[in-house]
Symmetry: C2
Subunit: 417 residues, 2 copies
């Protein structure tokens, strides 16, 4: 066994041991740990900012794009957001414990009990807030977690993890409930997701390439989250003003996140009127446009959008545009190029909205609203670990329940079959 | 691309096309198809029995064990059971369609809609009844299915699939909702579970080797089912008579199925009294006993149980026995050797029962009842596609709901974030 596999096995074993204690801790102790984490993050803010600056300096030197630098950067408001998030999750109802019970006709009692998944591996990009957010949700749901953040955020993540582990120790829970892989070597990720009887689930949070890598390499169950190649489709009968408002919001309100729109599909009937107005509004908002041939016939100045563009989640102020002949063509384009995350139609017709919803294969389908609402808090789940883009286990925003499994407890008095 | 991959891609494409129609068929049409399947299976029984005899003759010649021959054999009562099963599933509530809805404070309506998983691959052993049972559950839940049964049952499965497809055609649903891989070559299984963007989920139903193969080879999501290396643990305070009754039932009432007990763990305090009585009762029922050293000190005549024995799901009238020092040791043994399926404790103590339930990691934990109850119908789910032994998506008996996913439909009037 090579050194990296050996070290990763060791992390997994630590996590399994810690999880035994954590899964039997009551809801109160788990909540207390989260309040302690919130306090500790604020108390340790100088160190966290110092380590974050180390990451930011190196990233800037390495030529990181502005939208990615934005995701990497921590400041007082973001750190207090992380602490506030921990407090909010602490106050949510305990997702674990006894559930429904019913009685078999032979007198046995059958009861469903919510249990943690076990040991989770969360693999994410250079967004240090995910370190705290993910750890907090895992702890609340009784899961031990091994975190693997983007290497550009390593020092920030190490500092945040130190604070979290210190808070766990303070409140009497095993520190190894939360561990971070502290090397930038990608071989650790591979080891983490291939060691048999290791993780109970791997949850990649990030772009298409990361998810593809995890999906094709993993030997443990995977919950895909975070790839959002989202579309806004403007049907021929859309209210242009309303469509413009939703489009600009979906594209520009936070371009670096997964529920931001990346592509615009426009019905050919409305394209000649709608596209020039869209160009004006989007250019004013600093968005670079790229278009198919039919789009460029209407907006001659813009760059060509290739097939590769339509497969790209820009996470940036870029939008590619395609003119389509019908709602069916729009849905087909989305099913071919999308990541099954969030897709919006703008239309005045209830039937067109329903048809779009039936045809499009995605976690969230919006009729006349912005894709930016795909979010656990917006949906009322209190918090989220990510947006699942697969159909198994969880789909769409994943809250605490989606980090649990069940177990049946059957209590009898000697029943046989 | 080799021929096998090409053929398998073709099956998957057929299934995807068929699924588009199936997923939009209403609950009534799906139910009508199931009633037609039931009638057709009975109408075609001569052909089905003839093809089953071909399989049975070949299997007997090949030296198949009695318990496996039993699983392969069809007769009037089993075929009528399959038809009855189809009718029963037809009458169950439709698992698809509109679910909970709620309103965002900005006025958007959010609705959860139950949708099919899509295209499922079911890989199973030489049990022809699974062909009908699995197809029926997939159809009811709007999923297209590609079946891959054990090669020893190929002719039986082909005959059953012909009946099912004829019934689909009769009722106006695409025949390709149900397809069977009609070659014994294992390369088709590999292709089925590795083609990217192919299956929405692979569900292996069978023993540990089959599941291991699927788990380590698949590039699509897997729901593990069916491996049942189940234990009965007799605690020191158990009522010996009640323990004996449950043990004999768990071992002998149907030894070939996954919820049958394979191993007996006995607390050392009760072993000297319990084991001789167990030996008598089990030998009378034709069970071969194997034991650890401490067991053989009490029952000198029996064979040695090795570590390999404790990892074996016999599916036969064999039971291995281990004497343990404590409930904790019993739980540790189970967590090391079990398949997280069904585990039973016999005890008079509520605390011991709870401790066992907390310590043992399994889908179903029984206190004073037989492991044989782990079954969708016994649990009140109306039907089951298998027993999930993993924690993700579904755990324990999987009914119709576990073959569905969700989709959120958000309807607004121009809301932005």
């Amino acid at each position: 066994m090579d050194k990296i596999t050996q070290e990763t096995r060791f992390l997994i074993q630590n996590a399994k041991n810690a999880e035994k204690t954590l899964s039997r801790a009551d809801g109160k102790s788990r909540a207390a740990a989260l309040y302690a984490i919130a306090d500790r993050l604020i108390a340790d803010q100088d160190e966290i900012f110092r380590e974050n600056r180390r990451d930011l300096d190196a990233a800037r030197e390495g030529g990181m794009r502005a939208s990615l630098l934005d995701r990497l950067a921590l400041n007082e408001s973001r750190l207090s957001g992380m602490a506030q998030g921990a407090r909010k999750v602490a106050a949510l109802p305990d997702p674990l414990g006894r559930g429904e019970r019913w009685t078999h006709e032979n007198g046995m009692e059958i009861q469903r009990i919510r249990v943690p998944l076990g040991v989770l591996g969360i693999i994410y990009e250079a967004r240090p807030n995910v370190t705290a957010d993910a750890a907090v949700l895992c702890l609340k749901s009784g899961n031990a977690v091994i975190l693997r953040g983007g290497k550009e955020a390593l020092y920030s993540n190490l500092a945040i993890t130190r604070s979290i582990r210190a808070a766990l120790k303070e409140t009497g829970l095993p520190e190894d409930c939360v561990q971070l892989i502290d090397s930038a070597d990608r071989a650790y990720t591979t080891a983490l997701i291939t060691i048999e009887d290791g993780l109970d689930a791997a949850i990649p949070r990030g772009g298409r390439e990361l998810i593809r890598f995890i999906k094709t390499s993993a030997r443990v169950p995977v919950i895909e989250t975070g790839a959002g190649n989202c579309h806004v489709y403007v049907h021929h009968d859309a209210d242009p003003e309303l469509a413009l408002k939703v489009l600009v919001n979906a594209k520009t309100s936070r371009p670096s996140v997964c529920n931001a729109a990346e592509h615009l599909l426009v019905h050919q009937k409305i394209a000649p009127a709608f596209l020039p107005a869209a160009q004006k509004a989007l250019s004013d908002a600093g968005v670079e446009l790229r278009g198919c041939a039919r789009t460029r016939a209407i907006l001659p100045g813009i760059k060509e959008a290739t097939d590769a563009d339509f497969d790209t989640e820009y996470n940036d102020l870029i939008l590619s545009i395609k003119v389509v002949d019908s709602l069916q063509d729009a849905a087909e384009h989305i099913n071919r190029h999308g990541t099954r995350h969030s897709e919006a139609i703008l239309t005045k017709s209830i039937d067109a909205g329903r048809a779009f919803s039936d045809l499009v294969d995605a976690a969230c389908v919006y009729i006349n609203a912005s894709t930016r609402f795909t979010d656990g808090e917006e949906f009322g789940f209190g918090a989220e670990i990510g947006i699942s883009t697969q159909k198994l286990h969880a789909r769409g925003p994943m809250g605490l329940n989606e980090l649990t499994s069940i177990k049946y407890l059957i209590t009898g008095s000697g029943q046989t079959r």
